[in-house]
Amino acid sequence: MATHFVIDGLKAEIEGKEILKGINLEIKGGEIHAIMGPNGTGKSTLASALMGHPKYEVTAGSASLDGEDLMEMETDERARAGLFLAMQYPSEIPGVTNSDFLRSAINARREEGNEISLIKFIRQMEGKMKELEMNPEFAHRYLNEGFSGGEKKRNEILQMMLLDPKIVVLDEIDSGLDIDALRIVANGVNAMRSEDRGFLIITHYQRLLNYITPDFVHVMMQGRIVKSGGPELAQRLENEGYDWVKEELGIQDETVGQA
């Protein structure tokens, strides 16, 4: 079945404050969607609510992947159903090596007794690390501990590549990356483009979209998608900023949830 991801009227709050005020979005396999928008408008909240972060409470709406309602699932079930989120701020887990973690994540998708062999796993991991020009020692480092900002982002992409998800949400994967790393990460994403996979890329900058051309661009303000268009929309935002959008829509304060 072709990948089909539908967010319908999704509302979410944190600590009693409503941040998402009804998000509608549809992503089909093969499509790349970009979400842009000023700081504090709810982009990461959308990503977190989709993944099931414990601090966010979804109060209305749904998100379904191939007909299955993700909002009914625990975070780990959503991941196994095919959702992947590269986080804006990945956690550090001391004492757990990157490779032990990656192997656990791969095995979580396999039947008990059918775990990936160590050799095969290492071959896969090393292959992908090479594509991402990561130093092999990162396999043995503790998960994200002491990684630089850019190293963490690369590590998120490594996970995406190894876990083969259906819907990939990238939350500011380009922040903190130097110019070479941006190209490498973008190549990694492009290598993963396929008819069965959809992408939702949250970014502030056109520079990432120069490498990864989106099919659709959405603007988020006040916890809603307020404008959608094609790649030219991102270009215009890069050149002119958000004022014209606000003016067009009569928005004074674009942020959400501020007291």
Partner: protein
């Protein structure tokens, strides 16, 4: 004749049992005195843990050991713990030792590795000067009780200048909750010798499911320039109360290394102490522990410095799940005159449930100016962001918590230089965490 009285033994029965086993007179009278003491003195009083609420009297009755003809007769989960190809192994089942072997090479060098009962009969001259010298039988009801009823046990003797390369291994297990299971372990390392001793203390949980007490004492004597590495992993069943007192006395330039895994399913009192008597003596203690369900634990490490330039390091890391609780005490005592001594300690507790409890009490008692000492302690709940991050990769909550626990313990486990201990710890840790 299961004994379930408030005073679990008396002079007459202790002496009768000892005589019946053919123990030497000095030991018979030691047991008699201790049994009488046990009736009059109090249980130890660890900080903030009311052990008198535990069932401390399920001492059971002596079960005559029946030697096994081959290791294959032992339960599978005990066999698993035996290091492959080991030539130096001792197995205690319930009240006595049922298997022992020592390589001819070590025997020819004068190394003794046997059960303590045999050692008292055959090597009384070597045992008597040490037995109940690091731990006194009259310290409290626990030490008196062990003195009165201890059985099986281990005696390790390493002569001067002898270096024992491979670890000597013991497995002490019970599979009958009604049998007395009270080992006493005595290690004597003469000057400039080296030895590694590793044991597992476990319950065959399919068989022993009643209540029992495991009152155990370990005494280690490290003579000048000697090195003793002592690894011990406890995994006793839910019905058990483990009360284990360990103590080392370290002479000039001697060194003791303790590696302790307190992974029981029942209440646990674990107290490990190094007395650095000699100049330049050193001690290193690593303790890890995992608590489940409603387990209560009192985990104490102690370092006492008498010797000049003596050095101690103590680390305890404990993970408490469910409604388990642990009181973790670290006590570094530097006596007057122990100039240039250095003592450091760290206690860390990770709690995986809001109902779990952990307390870390680092204490430095310093009676000398010219010393260095330090401590660090932390107690905290598992970080929900970490659990979420792991789960967002498809890892179940249970596995995510398991990874975080392994990660929390890893800095201690990975530092364990003795491979056999590391492996056993890993295995018994898995048994505990996989449930």
């Amino acid at each position: 004749m299961s004994t379930q009285l408030t005073t679990p033994t008396d002079r007459n029965s202790a002496e009768t049992l000892a005589r019946g086993k053919g123990e030497p007179d000095w030991l018979v009278s030691l047991r008699g005195e201790a049994a009488e003491l046990a009736g009059t003195i109090e249980w130890p009083k660890p900080e903030k843990v009311r052990i008198e609420r535990w069932n401390l009297t399920a001492v059971g009755s002596y079960e005559t050991p029946a030697a096994v003809a081959s290791l294959a007769e032992l339960p599978a989960n005990v066999q698993e713990l035996v290091a492959e190809g080991t030539e130096n192994l001792l197995v205690q089942r319930n009240s006595g030792v049922v298997w022992k072997q020592l390589s001819a090479e070590l025997a020819s060098k004068g190394v003794i590795f046997t059960d303590l009962e045999t050692a008292c009969r055959e090597h009384g001259d070597l045992v008597k000067p040490y037995l109940f010298q690091a731990v006194n039988k009259d310290e409290d009801k626990l030490t008196a009780l062990n003195a009165a009823i201890w059985n099986g046990g281990v005696f390790v003797y390493v002569p001067k200048n002898v270096e024992v390369e491979l670890p000597l291994q013991a497995v002490l297990f019970n599979d009958n909750a009604g049998a007395t299971f009270a080992p006493h372990i005595l290690v004597v390392a003469e000057a400039n010798s080296r030895v590694t001793y590793v044991d597992c203390v476990v319950t065959d949980k399919s068989k022993a499911n009643g209540e029992f007490v495991h009152p155990a004492i370990v005494e280690v004597f490290v003579k000048p320039g000697a090195l003793v590495r002592y690894g011990s992993v406890h995994s006793l069943g839910e019905g058990g109360v483990d009360m284990t007192i360990r103590r080392a006395v370290v002479e000039n330039d001697g060194r003791v290394e303790w590696i302790i895994g307190d992974l029981n399913d029942g209440h646990t009192l674990s107290d490990t102490k190094s007395v650095m008597k000699g100049q330049g003596s050193t001690s290193d203690v690593k303790v890890i522990s995992v608590g489940n369900n409603a387990q209560q634990m009192s985990l104490t490490t102690r370092a006492v410095h008498f010797g000049k330039s003596s050095d101690s390091n103590m680390i305890t890391r404990a993970v408490m799940r469910d409604s388990a609780s642990a009181i973790i005490n670290g006590i570094t005592k530097i006596e007057h005159g122990a100039t240039k001594a250095n003592g450091v300690q760290t206690e860390r507790v990770l709690m995986l449930s809001p109902k779990a409890r952990g307390d870390a009490n680092p204490i430095l008692l310093i009676d000398e100016d010219d010393v260095t000492a330090g401590h660090a302690a932390s107690v905290g709940q598992v970080n929900p962001e970490q659990v979420y991050y792991l789960m967002s990769r498809g890892i179940s909550r249970q596995d995510a918590e398991r990874l975080i626990i392994y990660g929390f313990l890893a800095p201690v486990v990975s530092e364990i230089s003795v491979e056999a201990v590391r492996n056993q710890l890993q295995r018994l840790l898995e048994r505990k965490l996989e449930g």
